[in-house]
């Protein structure tokens, strides 16, 4: 769906009928102490889509994901999932909601004292009364889907980074969630693993009929797999659109981000004090003057003058 079409449908209200929103974020503000992180955010995540939230480090992407997961509460505004405001739920309600969610953490967060098999089976054993034979079949199917059925006996420490991420993905979709959250799924992966994980995100989302929210700063991989993108900077959405629209965008921030330029709207230098002052150049001058005075005192003349 094109961005213009999307916005027209959203404005006329037809969008909600055609593609019901699973997650709605409305006028959300959030601050850590006195430091504002999110400033009046409005985002919509329709069902059965893969949507990316992109932006530089520290722009508030992961905070958004934690708000959706109900780990933190917004200062104002609300986050609605499936018609329920997540931060108004009590613990039992929140846990009931989380059973319908899956989250892939940045480095997998696999349980290091359990085998790959037990990691994937963990939620099934905790939340269902399925017999062990059925759990076995389900675990093998999930591992087969990520191409790692042969690793079921291994410990997480015996896997490479990319393999650990794929096992974590199998664990994330163990109970066929309706909403899957991905926190930097491409971070630290080699090009092959990156493509594999990217394709798996898309394929699993389509197979499960789920909604995927991918928080990432990997532009090229995201543009291949997502249906829609939000760009976040300084706690606000600065642009949004489909991958084609983002590629064609002439906004300086988007161009800097896509092309990986060092300087631009996102400055290379973090704001700081005067550079010369930080280098204590004034005090260096003072040392030089003192040195000159000492030379004059003991040798009668400045050495440089002597040379002349």
């Amino acid at each position: 769906m094109g961005s213009l079409e999307y916005r027209c449908l959203k404005a006329t209200g037809v969008y909600n009928v055609l593609s019901e929103a699973l997650v709605e974020i409305r006028d959300v503000n959030f601050a850590y102490g006195h430091r504002p992180i999110l400033k009046g955010m409005n985002l919509t995540f329709p069902k059965n889509k893969v949507i990316a939230i992109m932006g530089g480090s520290g722009c508030g992407k992961t905070t958004l994901l934690r708000l959706i997961g109900g780990s933190i509460k917004p200062t104002s505004g609300y986050v609605k999932i499936g018609g329920q405001i997540i931060h108004e739920l009590d613990r039992a309600g929140l846990y009931a909601m989380r059973r319908k969610m899956g989250m892939l953490f940045q480095f997998g967060a696999l349980f290091t004292d359990m085998s790959v098999y037990d990691n994937v089976a963990f939620q099934m054993r905790e939340h269902t009364n399925l017999p062990e034979e059925i759990i076995h079949d389900l675990v093998m199917m999930k591992l087969h889907a990520v191409g790692l059925r042969g690793t079921h006996d291994l410990l997480p420490a015996e896997l490479s980074g990319g393999m650990a991420r794929r096992v974590a993905l199998a664990r994330t979709v163990a109970l066929d969630p309706m909403l899957i959250l991905y926190d930097e799924p491409f971070a630290g992966l080699d090009p092959i693993s990156l493509t594999v994980v990217g394709n798996l995100i898309k394929r699993l989302n389509d197979a499960l009929g789920a909604t995927s929210i991918v928080v990432t700063h990997d532009v090229q991989e995201s543009l291949k797999i997502v249906d829609y993108l939000y760009f976040v900077a300084d706690g606000v959405i600065i642009t949004e659109g489909t991958p084609d629209e983002i590629k064609a965008s002439n906004k300086p921030f988007v161009q800097q981000f896509i092309n990986g330029e060092m300087d631009g709207p996102v400055p290379f230098h973090y704001p700081g004090g005067d550079y010369q002052q930080d280098l204590k150049l004034k005090s260096i001058e003072r040392v030089k003057n003192n040195k000159r005075k000492v030379t004059e005192r003991y040798f009668g003349l400045d050495r440089r003058q002597k040379k002349k």
Binding site: G69, R98, R99, M103, F105, T112, F122
Partner: protein, 261 residues
């Protein structure tokens, strides 16, 4: 001068306030563990697994330490009792020292150093590698699933380890006193049997070690759960566990002894 004094007082006040806050948060954490303990008993295999890691894996150090402490008690006790011509009371001296004091205290200190620090490091690393957050996101309460089974395992393990420590200590005392020095075997055991009272000596020791088990395990788990998710955070928490547990054991030992004497 006044400014420096004020600064010191402010700093001291801040430290005291922080300590009080931490004690309060720790007490709240302990109450959360107790409230979420159902799973530790309904799925007892979780507790048994932790009992293996914290209890059975600590057995070697407890047994070896117990035996050598008993051997030292045998030597020192014999030297002292000989001055009063009461070498035959060696059995009761060794047993009473171990059952009433040394068994519970030293077993708890060794447990804090070996298993308590491991618990802190494990929970702290689980937090640092987002395993705790992952569990929360899977709608599984980490206090109930991870912390409470470890707590009850510690509470069960410390009295059992203290008992093992005392038994090995008595055996060490027997080896030195009877086998090496030649104290009469009959008087060694009969004096022990007649002077050690089950209720006043053995049960008091068991009660002490139960209290130490609760305190040491709660401190270890709280420090791990509260550790900043960094390498320095986890190492600092591990150190704090050993220091705080050791001090708590020694202070509580004095209080409990004063109350039970």
């Amino acid at each position: 001068m006044m400014a420096a004094l004020t600064k010191n007082f402010v700093g001291l006040g801040r430290r005291v306030m922080n300590s009080l806050w931490r004690i309060g948060i720790g007490a709240r954490f302990l109450s959360l563990i107790l409230l979420n303990s159902g799973i530790s008993f309904s799925r007892f295999h979780l507790t048994v697994k932790e009992l293996f890691f914290s209890g059975v894996m600590s057995l070697i150090i407890i047994l070896v330490a117990g035996m050598f402490v008993g051997m030292v008690l045998g030597l020192q006790g014999y030297e002292t009792l000989k001055r009063y011509g009461s070498e035959s009371a060696l059995g009761s001296l060794v047993a009473l020292s171990l059952v009433r004091e040394l068994g519970p205290v030293l077993a708890a200190l060794l447990f804090a150093s070996r298993a308590g620090s491991a618990m802190t490091a494990e929970i702290g690393l689980m937090k640092a590698t987002e395993q705790i957050s992952a569990m929360e996101m899977m709608a599984i309460n980490p206090i109930a699933r991870v912390v409470a089974p470890r707590f009850w395992a510690g509470v069960f393990a410390v009295p059992l380890l203290a008992a093992m420590f005392s038994v090995m200590g008595v055996f060490g005392g027997y080896l030195v006193g009877v086998v090496l020095i030649g104290v009469d075997e009959g008087s060694f055991w009969s004096q022990m049997q007649s002077n050690v009272d089950f209720q006043h000596d053995v049960l008091n020791g068991v009660f002490k070690s139960c209290v130490f088990g609760v305190v040491v395990t709660a401190i270890a788990l709280f420090e791990g759960y509260d550790a900043p998710p960094t390498a320095e955070g986890v190492s600092g928490a591990t150190t704090r566990t050993v220091v705080e547990s050791s001090l708590a054991i020694l202070i509580l030992d004095f209080i409990l002894t004063a109350l039970m004497i």
